[in-house]
């Protein structure tokens, strides 16, 4: 079954002098978020950016895929902490995503956990959508 998710962004003015708002999520999960070019390309100053939202999407998707893989293997996770870092070079595009995961998983060794994490990195829907990023790295270890 297909799942649709919709978001609306409003922008006023040119890229450099203008400013935008990502409207409150239709899911109701979060309120309106301001975006500007300066906060995207320089210091965030409390504002999100497309790259931060991609990092959020990827860290969430990877965590769910890894929890699924671990459960399938008979070693469900107690807790997974994932961070995703997205690197953007204007004019070139998104050049790198770094995934770091720390897991609390009873009854598993480091090697098996690393293999499950690698599988999640390749298989989660956001990873597949970002497959053309030149470099996606993974650092996985148990707590």
């Amino acid at each position: 079954m297909a799942t649709d998710r919709t978001m609306t962004t409003t922008w006023h003015g040119s890229l450099l002098e203008g400013a935008g708002t990502i409207a409150a999520a239709e899911s109701g999960a979060f309120g309106a978020l301001d975006v500007t070019w300066a906060s995207r390309a320089e210091e965030p100053n409390g504002k999100t950016s497309p790259e931060e939202l991609i990092a959020a999407a990827h860290s969430a998707c990877f965590s769910m895929a890894l929890s699924h893989g671990l459960a399938q293997a008979g070693t469900p996770a107690d807790r997974l902490d994932t961070s995703a870092t997205v690197t953007f070079v204007p004019g070139e595009g998104i050049t790198k995503v770094q995934l770091t995961v720390r897991g609390t998983v009873p009854g598993i060794d480091a090697e098996t956990f690393a293999a499950a994490a690698e599988e999640a990195k390749v298989g989660c829907p956001v990873s597949k959508a970002l497959a053309s990023v030149p470099e996606i790295t993974l650092d996985a270890s148990l707590v």
């Binding site: 799942t3 990092a55 959020a56 497959a131 053309s132």
Partner: protein
């Protein structure tokens, strides 16, 4: 050009079907502790976000900034742009769940710009938007543009 780095963190507790996650914007702190679950991802959102909703937000921000650039380059900077993005995830036979489509619907208020020039700028914005470029590797991207 400078490298721009943005980080976000997710925490997941429990199994996939009944567990739940929390998501925070580490770089900007613009959002924190957003809940997500499998049920809210593939069924009714119930006030929880999902990776696909965040990708729709990312695509909207990225495309809209790209279109503001194209219009300014053409000498017709926009008064306002409103972009609605719908990201579709589906189960693809033999490949599991995949993002299959992102639909862009943009309405612009742009002085001295006609429909044809606006549509052309929207096509160029899609071609130049880093997020559109990425997901075109696996999904289709549709653009529908009109002036208010």
């Amino acid at each position: 050009m400078p490298r721009i780095v943005r980080e976000a963190n997710a925490t997941w507790q429990g199994n996939t079907a009944r567990g739940s996650g929390m998501l925070s914007a580490a770089s900007s702190t613009a959002f924190a502790d957003l809940a997500f679950t499998l049920a809210s991802r593939i069924s009714i959102p119930e006030e929880k976000t999902s990776p696909e909703e965040l990708l729709a937000a990312a695509h909207g921000g990225c495309f809209t900034m790209s279109l503001a650039t194209e219009l300014s380059k053409a000498g017709t900077p926009p008064t306002s742009l409103e972009t609605r993005i719908t990201v579709t995830m589906d189960e693809v036979e033999g490949k599991g769940h995949q993002i299959v489509h992102s639909q862009i619907e943009v309405r612009g208020e742009v002085p001295d710009c006609d429909e044809a020039a606006f549509a052309q700028a929207a096509e160029a914005a899609d071609a130049g938007c880093p997020f559109s470029a990425l997901i075109r590797g696996i999904a289709t991207v549709g653009v529908s543009a009109s002036l208010v």
